[in-house]
């Protein structure tokens, strides 16, 4: 049986090797293809593991925080590769792979209980679209935040960097679209499962807050506020998302939430 430990170590090895080869590829272009294949292989390993895990669980592995980290680890390097392909920016993928590795290490350090059960409210056709759309949104916004951080550090060293600023902007824009869909899918599902589309459950409130944070960003951008200042905003906006993703569980308001992930 394929275990999580094997898959995680294999994926991390692929990403690390891919990164090293890719650094050498800057001087020796021949290495570009093997570097990409190695790094991409890491995500393929994770995606295959998710597929395999899904099949033995008989339910989508989206129920616990640890399970959402699996998807995150599989998807975020892909955004890095996409950005490199689209904008010829090659540094983002290193951050993305490091982040993915970090999430796998958390899962390795805190192994979760293997539990096949799924409570009735989660047995809905909305479950997968709602969570996957959110994950993709989070992945894009994480990449946007990392890019913005990188831009901030370039600013502090007084380097000009126009492409970087447009990358963080477009990633935030696409991420916002996914957040909006996630929010509305969640509302439509809530109507079917709990009777009302919006009840100001703490998770809903925080999801709304993160949506407002990016809504605010898009309007500030539209009003031609200095792009360099907005990099700080984008870098920090992700903190709100992190609270929404797992911080909510620790807030006093979360006592009666329907959304707290299963703790184990």
């Amino acid at each position: 049986m394929i275990t999580f430990t094997t898959a995680a170590i294999l994926a991390i090895a692929c990403w690390s090797l891919g990164s090293i080869v890719s650094i050498f590829a800057r001087r020796t272009p021949v290495l570009k293809v093997p570097a990409f294949l190695l790094a991409f292989g890491g995500s393929v390993v994770m995606i295959s593991f998710i597929a395999f895990y899904w099949s033995i669980l008989d339910r989508p592995p989206l129920r616990t925080l640890g399970e959402t980290r699996l998807w995150y680890a599989a998807l975020i390097p892909l955004v890095g590769f996409l950005v490199e392909y689209r904008w010829k920016i090659d540094w983002l993928k290193y951050y993305c792979m490091a982040l993915a590795g970090f999430f796998l290490v958390i899962n390795l350090l805190h192994p979760e209980v293997f539990d096949k059960t799924l409570m009735p409210a989660l047995q809905s056709p909305w479950f997968i679209p709602h969570v996957v759309v959110y994950l993709v949104g989070y992945v894009l916004l994480a990449a946007s935040s990392v890019t913005a951080l990188h831009n901030v550090s370039l600013q502090l060293r007084a380097k000009k960097n126009v492409t970087g600023e447009s990358v963080s902007h477009y990633l935030a824009l696409l991420g916002f679209v996914f957040l909006s869909f996630g929010l509305i899918f969640g509302a439509l599902w809530a109507k079917e499962a709990w009777g009302h589309y919006w009840t100001w459950d703490p998770k809903e409130t925080w999801a709304f807050l993160s949506w407002l944070a990016y809504l605010g960003y898009l309007h500030a951008y539209r009003y031609n506020i200095e792009r360099s200042k907005l990099q700080w905003y984008l870098a920090l906006a992700f903190v709100v998302l992190l609270v929404c993703w797992f911080g909510v569980n620790y807030l006093p308001s979360a006592q009666n939430s329907v959304h707290t992930y299963t703790q184990s």
Partner: protein
């Protein structure tokens, strides 16, 4: 060139005036809230709320159309004020996202300031009204003259306006009642979360049968001293079936036989029984050190004591699985000859006239043997309007995504 610093309130107004205005609105809201000693706002119901909302929309749009060159109106519908109001709503939501909501503690400072019911408080209401005015004005300028390139803006902003305003103005017309029904009986009264007085429904619900399906039971080791359940080495929730193995430190367990529905026979050994009365039994072989023994264990039920296997200070027990699904077979009648037979299940509500019926709960102490079903019935006449808003937002978002992709191509070249 020397740029003269703009003085306060020198037109055109910008961020400074917006921040001041928003702060004043929040302050006024909290003053109102204190003055009304923290009571939630009672909104009017249909048709009054619909009339007020239509009038509000008409006023905002006509001001937008007729005074579009007025500098103050321009500022009122502009991005700086919009941004400040977005942050104000975010700030109030932040309070609502940290302070537990709906807790009863009237008289406390928190309750008087409305922070424990922030979403029905004056500061929130005032901010949302101003925000709707701001959003409405900006929308009016994109509506006329109409241009195809404004479609994304119009869909998103109008959708948000409709969804937000209808959700808030319509909240007074939302009826949510819980109807408890026993098997073989009908009920036409429901209870709200707030009061114990039953309310008469325009229909009655007859419960034929409540049924609950569980996941397979689980094997656990129980330590009565620490009152802890110990999971086996693999950290797996072990579903009991024939051939299941589990191991703890110095202890191996193999399930030799499993009967999902059984009752103890005359000799004390379990005999297969009917689904409605039987409970899960498992025959296990326990190997500890060099000794081996076999035993029957069971989950027990409200009528039967569970059987556990004692192992020194510990017990090997079988606990019932968590609920997989539960449903109520009901007949809904309105007394005018209309009746509908339906199966109510979580995530599968049933419509009857303007009402929606939900499987909500059951007697959790009785579990699978519950004869009581809790049905929630909901009437929300504003739902279609809110959904229209949702779908407009989504349509606008698809265009936004598409344009975003197109523009990113521009950015890369």
């Amino acid at each position: 060139m020397v740029v003269a610093r703009r003085r306060w309130f020198q037109t055109p107004w910008d961020f400074r005036e917006s921040v001041l205005f928003t702060a004043a609105a929040l302050f006024a809201g909290f003053v109102f809230e204190f003055a009304s000693s923290g009571s939630s706002i009672a909104l009017p119901r249909l048709p009054v709320n619909a009339i007020i909302l239509s009038l509000f929309a008409a006023v905002v749009l006509s001001i937008g159309f007729s005074l579009r060159n007025n500098l103050i109106v321009k500022w009122f519908g502009g991005i700086p004020l919009g941004l400040c109001l977005i942050f104000a709503i975010a700030l109030l939501s932040l309070i609502g996202g940290i302070v537990p909501q709906g807790t009863e503690s009237s008289g406390s400072l928190a309750a008087q300031a409305g922070v424990n019911h922030i979403f029905s408080s004056w500061p929130f209401a005032l901010t949302v009204i101003l925000f709707l005015a701001n959003l409405g004005l900006s929308l009016s300028w994109k509506l006329i003259p109409f241009k195809v390139q404004n479609l994304q803006f119009i869909l998103f902003h109008a959708g948000f306006w409709i969804a937000l305003s209808c959700a808030i103005f319509g909240s007074a017309d939302l009826q949510r009642l819980v109807v408890p029904i026993e098997e073989g009986k009908a009920n036409s009264f429901g209870y709200t979360m707030e009061s114990d007085t039953p309310q008469r429904l325009p229909f009655s619900v007859f419960l034929h049968e409540f049924s609950l399906e569980e996941y397979p039971p689980q094997l656990l080791l129980y330590d009565p001293h620490s009152d802890k359940l110990l999971m086996d080495k693999s950290q797996t929730i072990l579903e009991v079936r024939k051939g299941t193995t589990a191991s703890w430190k110095g202890l191996d367990v193999l399930v030799l036989d499993y009967i999902p529905f059984a009752l103890p026979g005359k000799d004390g050994l379990p005999q297969p029984a009917d689904r409605s009365t039987g409970i899960p039994y498992a025959k296990v072989r326990i190997s500890a050190d060099s000794t081996k023994r076999e035993a029957w264990i069971s989950t027990g039920s409200p009528m039967l004591k569970p059987d556990a296997a004692a192992l020194g200070n510990l017990y090997l027990i079988m606990v019932p699985g968590t609920p997989k699904s539960f449903r109520s077979a009901v007949t809904i009648q309105d007394g005018k000859g209309d009746d509908v037979m339906a199966n109510l299940e979580v995530n599968k509500p049933v419509n009857f006239k303007e009402w929606k019926l939900y499987q909500m709960g059951y007697d959790e102490k009785a579990g699978r043997w519950s004869k009581l079903s809790l049905i929630e019935v909901i009437h929300d006449p504003w739902l279609p309007a809110v959904y229209l808003g949702f779908f407009m937002i989504m349509a606008g978002n698809i265009l936004f995504f598409w344009n975003g992709i197109k523009r990113t191509e521009g950015a890369s070249s």
